[in-house]
């Protein structure tokens, strides 16, 4: 009996050690590769793509990206999985019940760490709405999560540049917060809130089963893998599309339409309704940027992510259409205003 328990404990310890070693080596690999500017292959430029035969363009582009992007992607998915798994979810649920301002704070603080696909986003939105925090924090959460989660920020920084990643994060906070506050003041926002408050909450007891660290780590890696499986196919399709875009789209067209005030407007309108799955907006943004889109338009394009049509459709089943339209208009205005502002400040409009 003792021996069996000993063997089990030993196996646990070994598994925990191996998993931790793997995670730490990925982090170390990321830091090392960024410090040493290491890459498996020389980076391609737009000019290199022009000379290639048509079938080789996407292959060369993919090899080029993954030869230096793989470590960041790997790290991003592991981090997303770890944080989602280890975050104390029952605490979030409890604090959300504390009321409005706690709700806003929590929505802003938690959204970046909860990497969500649309599938987890909608229950989260509904959950916040019904938890007692109300419509404002729910909208804030909804707008924050797609554009400011750890996966999107890491990839924005790595594929584009880090200043943009921080600007994107800051602008997301401002836009999400103001949209939440405005919607919660509108009559239709209030009526949605009242409806939710009237429905009695079913009290549910949580009987926690303490899990071992190795189980948690393994579950986290599995969740990271699941996210990768959901997101990477679209990401790769996006890269292939962008490789042709970069190879064949003349730079003067992008330069003509996606710069200046008009460029910001066009980018902000394209960014929203054009449904781009998570992370693909970064890939396409990179393509357009290297073809001459201004930085202002680039930010406006990225800020379009939270108000895409698919998200809006899902939310409209829970909240009213007026609520959806209100937050979409505010998010769109935010993307235009901050796109222009960033364009002016960075000297690239």
């Amino acid at each position: 009996m003792y021996l069996r328990i000993g063997a089990l404990e030993g196996w646990r310890l070994l598994r925990t050690g191996l998993l931790l070693a793997f995670i730490i080596s990925v982090i170390a690999g990321l830091v090392y590769s960024r410090i040493m500017a290491y890459s498996l292959a020389p980076t391609l430029s737009v000019a290199d793509l022009h000379g290639l035969p048509i079938w080789l363009i996407p292959i060369a582009y993919l090899i080029d990206y993954f030869s230096h992007g793989w470590i960041c992607l790997l790290f991003a998915f592991i981090a997303a999985g770890l944080i989602y798994e280890l975050i104390p979810k029952h605490l979030i649920t409890t604090y959300m019940r504390r009321g409005r301002s706690a709700g806003y704070l929590l929505a802003l603080a938690a959204a970046p760490f909860l990497t969500v696909c649309s599938c987890t986003m909608v229950p989260l939105f509904a959950g916040v709405l019904y938890s007692g925090a109300g419509i404002g924090p729910a909208i804030t959460f909804l707008l924050m999560a797609p554009s400011a989660n750890i996966l999107a920020i890491l990839l924005t920084g790595d594929m584009l540049y880090w200043e943009l990643a921080w600007v994107r994060l800051a602008v997301s906070i401002i836009v999400a917060l103001s949209a939440g506050i405005v919607v919660s003041k509108t009559p239709w926002g209030r009526s949605v809130e009242r409806e939710c408050h009237n429905t009695a909450q079913t009290a549910v007891a949580v009987s926690g089963v303490e899990r071992h660290l190795d189980e948690k780590l393994w579950a986290a890696l599995k969740f990271g893998g699941y996210l990768a499986k959901q997101i990477l196919p679209y990401f790769i399709i996006g890269l292939i599309a962008v490789s042709y875009l970069e190879a064949y789209l003349p730079t003067d067209i992008v330069g003509r339409y996606l710069t200046g005030v008009g460029g910001v407007l066009i980018a902000s309108v394209l960014g929203g309704p054009l449904y781009t799955p998570t992370l693909v907006e970064i890939v396409v943004g990179k393509g357009l940027w290297s073809l001459g889109m201004s930085k202002g338009a680039l930010l406006a394009w990225l800020m379009g992510q939270p108000y895409d049509v698919a998200n809006a459709l899902a939310v409209s089943k829970i909240a009213k259409w007026r609520v959806v339209l209100t937050y979409m208009v505010i998010a769109w205005l935010g993307s235009v205003v901050f796109g222009l502002l960033y364009g002016v400040l960075s000297g690239s409009l």
């Binding site: 599938c119 909608v122 229950p123 938890s131 549910v204 949580v206 899990r211």
Partner: protein
């Protein structure tokens, strides 16, 4: 054999692959343990929210939230049922 009855098992999730996997684990565990239960799949986000759940997939057994925001392990699922089923 097969006459152990557990109340209501609710699997909450909007129909994503992880929720499907959780439902499969629940059904398999009940079958293996020969426990009868009313397994309900709750897909409507409003209904999920009304049950006080924010993170899916989640499992509620007789009004007790046993797991949320993750796919449970099969052994864990079996333990929930054996702990709760009448002996």
């Amino acid at each position: 054999m097969g006459n152990k009855v557990l109340g209501v098992v609710k699997v909450l999730g909007p129909g994503c692959p992880r929720c499907q996997e959780t439902k499969r684990l629940v059904i398999n565990a009940l079958a293996e343990l020969q426990i009868a239960a009313d397994v309900q799949e709750i897909k409507d986000p409003k209904e999920i929210a009304k049950l006080g759940v924010m993170f899916t997939p989640a499992v509620i057994i007789n009004n007790q939230l046993v797991s949320q925001g993750r796919v449970p392990r099969y052994e864990e699922v079996k333990k929930w049922f054996t702990d709760r089923a009448p002996k």
